[in-house]
Amino acid sequence: MNEVFPRGPSLLTRFILILVFSIIAMIVDTKVDSVKTLRTYLTSFVSPLQYIADMPGEVLNWSASRFTSRQNMLEENELLTSQITLLNGELQRLAALQQENNNLRNLLDAPVRVDMHKMIAELMSIDNNPYSHQIVINKGTLNDVYLGQAILDDNGIVGQVVEVGTTNSRVLLISDVTHAIPIRISRNNVRLVASGTGTLNELKLQHVPHSAEIREGDLLISSGLGNVFPEGYPVGIIDKIVSDESQPFAEVSVKPAARLDRLKYLLLLWPEDIAPEEAVASSDLYQQLESQDAR
């Protein structure tokens, strides 16, 4: 059914129109902030595709959990029980320490540190796009996820939310080239900025003077400046320092604390005043602990 005389504009006209349109779209999308809401709708619109793409992995996981042997389950159970016991022990000490810290801060008239509320999210998909490091998680506006929210894993800071859909949202990892995070060295409170390099297991410290007091193996924690990431969560460990005096700054590479290449369960953080009902605070955990002891 080839038409001898095609209708509509010619191929070349359509081609040029599309190219012009996509260039305008690119410029608008990167330079104008108000299109973020449009992206929310678009992201929700294509989320069925993401759920379908996620299905084979889900089926594999499900069947793996179905057919795992009793022996394995018992071993895993034992391991988890021992871990919980150890962590509970630590938690008891933490509760006392936090109380003490708050008392001391009260004495100094310093503001008491706010308790963050947390919720567990699961990784839905990883972008195979080699140019940017982003992941998709299975929580969205329905769970009160907001733009710029901080995401952790069990070892440290993972990234921040950059797009929110209804049931899923997109997280920019700290290793992305466009991402930077304010940090301080936990040993001596030197403040610096760690930016991503585009490689999953490396960050770079920006503008480090040769005279700065840093050592390999120093722990970097988030400084809370910039009001995106809460204070005091681990970001990485200093891996290598190259101090070449002919360069203006020292080159410092950092190994991220979070295991960015094997993420599975993630923690969403909320400040106390805007946290949803389902999010748990650490004070809830202490109460659970106490009620367990009471039983």
Binding site: I18, S22, A25, V28, L49, N128, Y131
Partner: protein
């Protein structure tokens, strides 16, 4: 016939899903350009149905799925598809080897354009691994071509 287009749409949706399906990072860098191959096939076989317009919509969807700036993949997919649909008669008469070679050039072009646009927008560093999917694409092309042609004839899509 009204049901004819359905098969083309199913192919394109499967292509989109194959583009985003999660894979272990070691294999992930070799993921072939499924969508580009599928669009190339259809714009070669039925240039009056699938052409730059469909490529642009697919590109935009890919941008949303990948989280890249809107228009990057739209731009990068439209250029190879324009070349194919402008020269579809020539491509149809090529041998399988020649076709695979053409697809290699188109795939390299696609990746190069995506890299250029990303460099312009967010200053990405160049890495040779951006071109590794092309190698898998060449190997897969004859099989995909054969499979799609078989189904196109079976369902009489025209």
């Amino acid at each position: 016939m009204p049901g004819n287009n359905t098969f083309i749409y199913i192919c394109i949706i499967v292509g989109l899903i194959l583009q985003i399906i999660p894979m272990p990072p070691q294999i992930d860098i070799y993921r072939p350009d499924w969508l580009l191959m599928i669009l190339c096939y259809w714009s070669m076989a039925l240039p009056n149905r699938v052409s730059v317009g469909v490529a642009a919509i697919c590109g935009l969807t890919l941008d949303i799925l990948y989280g890249t700036a809107l228009g990057v993949h739209c731009f990068a997919l439209t250029i190879p598809i324009f070349i194919v649909s402008a020269n579809y008669q020539r491509l149809r008469n090529q041998s399988m080897l020649q076709q695979a070679f053409t697809i290699m050039v188109l795939s390299l072009l696609y990746h190069l354009i995506v890299y250029w646009l990303q460099y312009w927008l967010i200053n990405t560093e160049f890495r040779w691994r951006f071109f590794w999917p092309t190698a898998v694409t060449i190997v897969l092309w004859p099989w995909l071509f054969w499979l799609l042609r078989k189904f196109r004839r079976k369902f009489r899509v025209s």
